[in-house]
């Protein structure tokens, strides 16, 4: 169980997050959605301990502010939005950095084969010898995902769930690999781990996420299953455009179709707030 209470982040005079409460359960995939600048990534950074924020975040009962980096690293892994790699590591060398327990211990069997399994999982078998700096953006994103998966390869360790945090994991990927990556996250949750993902694509979110937190202007505007949160009014208000939610076959979840860009997003926002979302 991940519980964040009253998370507040201020950059200069701008309040990016305003007393946000956020919870996620192990065994589920929880998505954070919202328009640009709504504070999604900031919320992820706050609950992973990357930035100092007001409020408290507890990971399975433990305050993350009181955990050491190495302790946290065995409990959760984080996939950042984009990563510049300073030196020309090969794909294999980079993925191996996810072996947090180091080369000396044999706590996990198969230290030699796991990096290859992780690469196979993200569809990059045969890329081991390539230089990371020469990969395409999407390939590099998947190499980083393989490294992150390796860090918490067992979704449950010593009866404790482990956590996977993803910041826009599919933003650089083609549609086939978007599905691969979402399936990996889904499987991780199915095996008992916790997944928290910042998402832009509402339809992928509706397909894969168990729960959704909708953010706008640094505040929580909706929490629940995708079906509960993704309503026409909710989405149109937050995103400032006209969206229609349908329920097409076969998976039965909501399906969002863009209708028209509003010429007056601020007007819509104002009316949305008036209705107390």
């Amino acid at each position: 169980m991940l519980e964040a209470h009253s998370i507040t982040v201020t950059y200069g005079s701008r309040r990016v997050l305003d007393r946000v409460d956020f919870t996620a359960k192990a065994g589920e995939m929880t998505a954070i959605v919202g328009p640009n600048g709504s504070g999604k990534t900031t919320l992820l950074k706050a609950i992973t301990g990357e930035i100092n924020a007001g409020g408290v975040t507890r990971l399975d009962g433990q305050n993350i502010a009181k955990m050491s980096p190495s302790e946290l690293a065995t409990r959760r892994a984080v996939l950042p939005q984009s990563g510049h790699v300073a030196f020309p590591f090969t794909v294999l060398e980079l993925v191996r950095l996810g072996l947090t327990r180091g080369f000396a211990t044999s706590a996990t069997s198969g230290q030699d084969t796991l990096p290859h399994q992780a690469l196979a999982r993200v569809g990059l078998s045969g890329f081991e010898g390539r230089s990371v700096q020469e990969l395409s953006g999407g390939e590099r994103q998947r190499v980083q995902l393989a490294r992150v998966l390796l860090q918490i390869w067992e979704p449950v360790l010593d009866d404790m769930p482990r956590w996977l945090f993803l910041d826009e994991p599919v933003s650089a990927l083609d549609i086939g690999h978007q599905l691969v990556v979402m399936q990996i996250a889904h499987d991780f949750a199915q095996m008992g781990g916790g997944v928290v993902a910042v998402m832009h694509d509402l339809n992928l979110t509706a397909m894969f996420a168990d729960r959704v937190t909708l953010l706008d202007q640094g505040r929580v505007q909706g929490v629940g299953t995708p079906k509960e949160v993704f309503t026409d009014a909710h989405l149109s208000a937050c995103y400032g455009c006209t969206l229609r939610t349908n329920t097409p076959p076969p998976f039965g979840g909501p399906w969002i179709l863009p209708q028209a860009a509003s010429h007056h997003p601020n007007h819509i926002r104002a009316s949305a707030r008036a209705r107390h979302f």
């Binding site: 950074k45 990563g83 020309p88 950095l97 180091g102 030699d112 081991e128 499987d187």
Partner: protein, 362 residues
């Protein structure tokens, strides 16, 4: 039980693709052999001819005898010089590697970005102004005063440089290089002022020392600065994994379990101590710290666990070779070694720059 077992996953690593460990270890063996050869050549190379070097080495171990002259030249002149060259070369190459890892940038080098200048300022201040210190302090520090002052100077400039060039976990190359120039100019000016006030005797010391030279190496100097260098060389591998992780950025390193702030403090301290100690005994020897790691990365990749030991060995080889060139070019006189490394390293640096233009666009 892993949460996925893919049928695509190979049962055994496919021919170790992407794993350059074996290559690095093979390279290390070759480098060790080369170092031994260069060390022996360095002992046999000098103004005096007809020295029975093997004889003198054996005599020390109690096998056979050697003339007093041979013993003195080999053990009191050439040996401290050779050991100093090897240690300083190793230290400079390792500091360069650590600094490049810390700044996440292949162009960082203690000599280029003003750390050596800071250390030089400390050393010069100690040489000229050391006499004004209270007698008690002079007695307490003894021969370690110059290395100590050089360390403090190097440490202060590394710290200032890092604070200026790094913002929000991102180090700007342009800022780093420009700040390094400014810092170097500033400490250079203060150093110049002190030199201007120095006596004639001190002036001669300072001039030769400033150009970098292992010619003045003695056991006494080595005893003062050597332990610091050895300590930083031994401690460097402990930073290896953190430096690898840092290549992915500070947040990622933190997520991977690295205590980034602590690691940065350690790395800065280690670079400053190492460069300070080197500058104190040999003056400024540039470009070793940038050339050696760069060449090695081309062959064996950037994994620091494998890179740092090889950098130490190749660094020692490079400085010993440069020292041999410096003794040969204008024989029987000697060229300061800093001139040799600059002549060789300058064009090399330009080559890296041209190859990596994109780095500067950041």
């Amino acid at each position: 039980m892993a949460f996925v077992t893919s049928r695509l996953a190979p049962r055994r690593p496919a021919a170790l693709a992407g794993d350059r460990q074996m290559r690095a270890l093979a390279l290390r063996m070759a480098l060790v052999l080369a170092l031994i050869v260069v060390m022996l050549f360095s002992l046999g190379w000098g103004a005096a001819s007809g020295i029975d070097v093997p004889g003198a080495l054996a005599a020390k171990a109690g096998i056979g005898t050697a003339s007093l002259r041979d013993m003195a030249i080999v053990w009191d002149i050439r040996m401290p010089r050779m050991v100093t060259g090897a240690l300083v070369g190793a230290a400079l190459a390792v500091s360069g590697t650590v600094m490049q890892g810390l700044f996440r940038n292949p162009l960082a080098d203690p000599g280029l970005v003003g750390v050596s200048a800071g250390a030089g300022f400390g050393a010069v201040a100690a040489i000229v102004l050391g006499g004004f210190l209270p007698v008690a302090v002079q007695a307490a520090t003894g021969a370690a005063l110059i290395p100590l002052a050089a360390f403090l100077g190097g440490w202060a400039s590394t710290l200032v440089l890092y604070k200026i060039a790094t913002r929000g976990g991102h180090t700007s190359v342009a800022t780093m290089l420009l700040a390094g120039i400014a810092l170097g100019a500033l400490t250079g000016a203060v150093t110049g002022f002190i030199v201007y006030r120095a006596s004639d005797d001190q002036l001669r010391d300072l001039t030769f020392w400033g150009m970098g030279s292992v010619a003045g190496a003695t056991w006494a100097k080595l005893l003062a600065a050597g332990p610091i260098i050895v300590l930083t060389l031994i401690s460097a591998p402990f930073l290896a994994r953190a430096l690898d992780a840092l290549a992915l950025g500070e947040p990622v390193a933190n997520h991977l379990g690295v205590d980034v702030q602590r690691m940065k403090r350690l790395a800065i301290l280690s670079v400053a101590a190492s460069v300070g100690a080197c500058v104190a005994i040999t003056g400024g020897i540039g470009f070793v710290g940038i050339v050696v790691p760069h060449l090695l990365r081309l062959v064996q990749g950037p994994v620091h666990r494998l890179l740092l030991p090889n950098a130490a060995i190749l660094g020692a080889i490079v400085v010993l070779l440069a020292d041999m060139i410096s003794r040969t070019v204008v024989a029987p006189a000697e060229l300061p070694i800093g001139i040799v490394t600059a002549v060789l390293g300058g064009p090399f640096f330009l080559w890296i720059l041209l190859k990596n233009r994109a780095i500067l666009e950041m």
